[in-house]
């Protein structure tokens, strides 16, 4: 498996995505353009989802190029530290964007304060992604004249940001130093899983025709519980990955799980942006959903169970990938 290429394929997405997203978001305030704002929020959510495989493939790329002569370990470490700082701002922006998209459907809408918070998060994320891209580029294209192993010259902004960047190995050790911390993260991951599958399962089953006496709208209002579960699981999942990056990156079941999660992102996009949700939103007791809605609901259920099953198989498929 060539993670080097996968990483190169994905690594411009967070940077370009966030710069475009911030641009659209700022532009949406001029003239108070709600559609433009919605587009920016969707971009933040989608790009933060894609940032996860970008981050994860970096570990595989690291293992691949570490064998090559002339690659400076210090530059790789600096890039990983930059990514580990930026990741949280990207994911937090994505989460806040999802909450704002959810709230924008309600009459009260999204408050100015919330939008300002998203703008701040997104701007920081864009800067940190830019820095991550720059430090990553330096690995293959070191500054001219820099001797291998020489101290890294930072600009003013870079040296300020660097103060906040974790040491990659330090962060990894922090996650695995105490087994009770690890056990706590795993318990939280299972609780999050239950919240997601319970709420998403109930909504999908109702759309598919189970318990038809239930109106969809109040059932759908339980979705924040599933979003909380997703938040818990992205957080604990990424922390677990940082704790044992090489272990997960070399595991086929882990990549299968990640692929299913990306497809779920597509599934959610088809459901909410493809006009399907608008048709099932006011499904009354006894009313049947359209076939397209049923197909999207069934594939969502199938994909979530794929996520659970492949997640549980990660231990079995330890060391199943060579790179």
């Amino acid at each position: 498996m060539n993670f080097d290429h996968l990483h190169l394929l994905l690594n411009h997405v967070p940077i370009i995505g966030f710069f475009v997203g911030v641009g659209l978001f700022v532009a949406s305030f001029a003239g108070d353009n709600a559609d433009l704002r919605r587009s920016a929020l969707i971009i933040f959510a989608a790009v933060s989802l894609l940032t996860i495989p970008t981050f994860v493939s970096g570990v595989g790329a690291d293992r691949t190029i570490a064998r090559e002569p002339g690659v400076s370990e210090a530059l790789v470490q600096r890039h990983e530290g930059a990514a580990m700082l930026g990741l949280w701002f990207v994911v937090a922006t994505g989460a806040a964007a999802l909450v704002a998209l959810w709230r924008s459907r309600r009459p009260a809408g999204v408050s100015r304060g919330n939008l300002a918070a998203i703008l701040l998060l997104a701007a920081i994320a864009a800067v940190l992604m830019g820095r991550t891209g720059n430090t990553g580029g330096d690995i293959r294209h070191p500054q001219p004249g820099a001797a291998p192993g020489a101290a890294i010259a930072e600009g003013t902004i870079g040296s300020i940001i660097h103060l906040f960047e974790p040491s990659p190995d330090g962060f990894t050790n922090l996650m695995v130093v105490n087994k009770w911390w690890w056990a706590t993260m795993m318990v939280m991951h299972f609780v999050g899983l239950s919240l997601i599958i319970g709420v998403v399962g109930a909504i999908n089953l109702r759309i598919m025709g189970f318990a038809k006496e239930l109106p969809l709208a109040p059932l759908h209002r339980l979705l924040p519980l599933a979003m909380a579960g997703l938040g818990i699981n992205v957080l604990t999942g990424m922390l677990a990955f940082i704790g044992m990056p090489a272990y997960y990156a070399a595991d086929i079941a882990f990549w299968f799980k990640l692929a299913a999660l990306m497809l779920l992102g597509l599934n959610v996009a088809v459901f909410y942006l493809g006009g399907i949700f608008d048709r099932v939103e006011r499904l009354a007791p006894g009313e049947d959903a359209t076939l397209s809605a049923k197909i999207v609901a069934a594939s969502s259920l199938l994909l979530w169970f794929t996520v659970i099953i492949s997640g549980r198989y990660i231990q079995h498929f330890e060391d199943s990938l060579r790179f």
């Binding site: 009770w180 609780v191 319970g198």
Partner: protein, 169 residues
């Protein structure tokens, strides 16, 4: 104190050895997958029922939600069966760990509460969609117990004194 000898007998049986040592993806980790799906069904469905009974979405009719008990019990029985297989694979590991017995007791109370809540929802009063305060507190206990079962189950992976008969951690 030494672990009782019958644990060794179970561990040496063909089934126990196969579940534990087979390289097949359909051995130990398959049983764990089933156990995980059972957990997702049981705790997930309980979470949705609990959210309604605690008053999160008051305009969701209660009576049709009873149908979700089907998933609760499907998850429960999946986990009884898969749990027995896990116990056959690692009898010493489970039975020498006090947390395993805590888990069983919590499951007992959890099932008892689930059955009580299910009965209350089957009575005519449930069709009124107003959840009595007593049912609400039962629901809180029920959710807390299953959270405890989940936590105890996870903790079994980190608290074992023996992994196999005569083989400490």
């Amino acid at each position: 104190m030494d672990a009782p000898a019958f644990l060794n007998t179970v561990e040496r049986s063909g089934l126990s050895t196969w579940i534990r040592e087979s390289e097949s993806a359909f051995a130990y980790y398959f049983v764990l997958v089933i156990h995980n799906i059972g957990l997702a069904l049981l705790v997930g469905a309980c979470g949705v029922l609990g959210a309604r009974l605690l008053g999160f979405v008051p305009d969701l009719p209660v009576a049709p939600l009873r149908r979700f008990f089907r998933f609760v019990w499907a998850g429960f029985w999946l986990n009884v069966v898969s749990g027995v297989f896990l116990l056959i694979a690692y009898p010493t590991k489970a039975l020498t760990n006090p947390i395993f017995y805590v888990k069983l007791v919590l499951i007992g109370f959890g099932v008892w509460l689930l059955r009580r809540i299910e009965r209350e929802l089957s009575s005519d009063a449930a069709s009124r969609d107003v959840v009595p305060a007593a049912t609400r507190s039962l629901t809180l206990w029920m959710l807390g117990l299953w959270l405890g079962v989940l936590t105890a189950g996870r903790a079994l992976a980190y608290t074992a004194t023996y992994i196999l008969y005569g083989k400490g951690t």
